[in-house]
Amino acid sequence: MLRLSAAGPARAIASVVRYRYPVKQLQQQSSEVRTPGNLPGSRKPFAPAGTVVGPADTIIMSAGAAAAPPTPSNITLTSPIQVPLVPPSSSPKIQTSPPLAQVSKASPAAPTPPTPPTPSAPSSENSVPPPTGGKKTHRFRNFVITLTLLTGLSFAGGVFFSLKSDNFHDFFTEYIPFGEDVVLYVEEREFRRRFPKALSRIKNLMKPESSKVTIPRSSGATWKVFDPEDGKKAGGVGTAGGPHISAKQTEEQGKQIVKGTPAEAKVIDEKPAPKSDHVAKVEEAVEKTAKLATSAKAKDTVLITAVDLDSVSDPAVQDLVKVVNSIISLVNHSGVAESFDTVMKSAKSELLHLNNQIGAIKSSIERATEERLKYKDLEFATAAQGLLTKVNNEVVDMEHKLREEFEHEREVIIASYHERLRNELDRSHRVIEQRLRNELLEQAIEMKRKFIGEIEERVENERNGRLGRLQELSDSVDELSKLSTRWGEIIDANLKTQHIHVALEAVRAAYESPEQPKPFLRELAALKEVADDDEVVRAAIASINPHAYQVGVSTPSQLVDRFRRVAEEVRKAALLPEDAGVAGHAASWVLSKVLFRKQGLAQGDDVESILTRTETFLEEGDVDSAAREMNQLRGWARRLAGDWLKEARLLLEVQQAVEVIAAEARLQSLRVYAQH
């Protein structure tokens, strides 16, 4: 409804604007001519908008005075003051119409649309000047209109949006002028539309009573410290279940307010009185009414006097009196007191009698209780006396008993002490006896040992005398065996030397084999085995180059053969100068061809002489001398003869070692014979 009303004017404005553009295109005259016929033309297509706007305008005029106050007064939504201003009898249809008017009034765009098409309309509030000028005026007017329209539209949009989102609501109410008012109003309309009953109820409640509610001065929060008396007085609202504590109470209070007299209206402030007080109050009220009644009806009726008991002790009786009194008052009111007079009287006498009887019973009961109390007191006193004496006797008995126990305990302790002492003495005696016995035993053992030693000594002496001869016999046997072993040694040594000789022969045969060099490692190993402990043999074997017995040594014939080849080469290099180059070598090679050969044991240190001598020695079989000759060579000649020399030396070493070993073997055999 509200939205519709907000959209209605906007649509109307839009239509008007749309309509105005073709008008602007037309010429000024034609527009002026058309203006009179414009009204029906404009209203026809937008009939609903026109109808909506029409009544709004009229209501503005009529309810201008009534609607003016609420908008400026910035009252919150729940403020009930606004409620009575609206007529309560107004139907919902009429209630909805004012918002339309107010909305249309709140948005400044609303009143503008009807004016431009009808310049002759009587709307005085429009500030836009009538379009009498030429194009310039038109333009200005258009600008103003569009501006207002846009402003209005944006304002309406803002209002609408602020209803939707809280953030925008805050912004809108804060910064836009009149924004808060309008939004508040719209919200209020919404609320009223939703809950029409709630508002009417509040209104009904508040209307007649509002002036009579008085809030006491001390109610609410004050700076004062709490005073109990104050609290009692003001507790009606503050402590004893105020309206904020329970809704029921408020309802009751509301009822009281609705019903109540001015005297009872004060109950709000006061604490609910205790029952007796209340009853008294009621009584008072009854009396009051009775008085009133008497004053009112004194002339024609005989009244029954109320029951008046001066000494009423029992609450039941009291209640009964009250009931009777109320009945009496009722009867008095009813105006037929005479008829009930007798009954009442009898009732009263009955009541009196009852009261007296109750009093008598009470007094008799009191007396009986007093007597009983006295009796009891006496009884208790005698009992206490008896108890005291009993306790004293018991204490004395206890003392006697304890003393006896103490004596008995002491005797027992003394007896146990004596017994322990005796035990201790016994034990010490026993220990001493044991020690003495032990000493005796030791002495006996020692004597026995001495005796045995003596006997052994004697036996030994006897034995030695006989065994002396046996010892001599064994000595002679030992000597014999020694002799025999010595002979055995000699035989062993002989055997060994023989073995050495055999092994030596084997080695010699191995290295002197004429065919080709062959290793004689096994033979040498056997020789070493046979002469294991002989240092000379070991040293001789160690002096041999390992290469010799691993590969074998060349035989003398092989050496001679190789010497011939070596001699050729050496002769080639025989004439070389000290530091010869290619030319020197070539010269030496050429010139060596023309050298004369020497024969026999030639004299001289030159290469040719040495070679000749060596050859002669070799022919004689003297390898040792040949090697010595060759060792005299120098330079290239020595270099060329190096391998031959090495081989010769190997052979010589082996020969020497073998000779040494043979000499050693001979020496050994001789030594053995010399020893024995």
Partner: protein, 96 residues
């Protein structure tokens, strides 16, 4: 036995006999001389063809250079190998 024989074979092969030392050197020298002179002559011929319009002298010059180079290397080898040329070599020869 066989293993020791093979060992001697290896030793003999690795180190030539001392009496063949000079002959070996001569072989090396002559081969080197031939290769060097051939190379020099070849370069000389190429140069003569490319640069000197097929004159004869560049070939001869190249040959001469190659032969000279071979001779120099040979000479150095003979001199270096000779006993007493260098101290270390001399000592070694003395020892052996």
């Amino acid at each position: 036995m066989s293993s020791t024989a093979s060992a001697t074979e290896v030793i003999k092969r690795s180190r030539p006999a001392s009496e063949g030392l000079l002959n070996e050197k001569w072989d090396h020298c002559l081969a080197n001389l031939l290769v060097k002179s051939t190379l020099g002559a070849g370069f000389g011929i190429i140069f003569s063809v490319l640069l000197f319009k097929r004159r004869a002298f560049p070939a001869w010059v190249g040959l001469g250079f190659g032969a000279g180079r071979g001779y120099a290397e040979c000479d150095r080898e003979f001199k270096g190998a000779a006993g007493g040329v260098r101290k270390s070599v001399g000592e070694r020869l003395q020892r052996s």
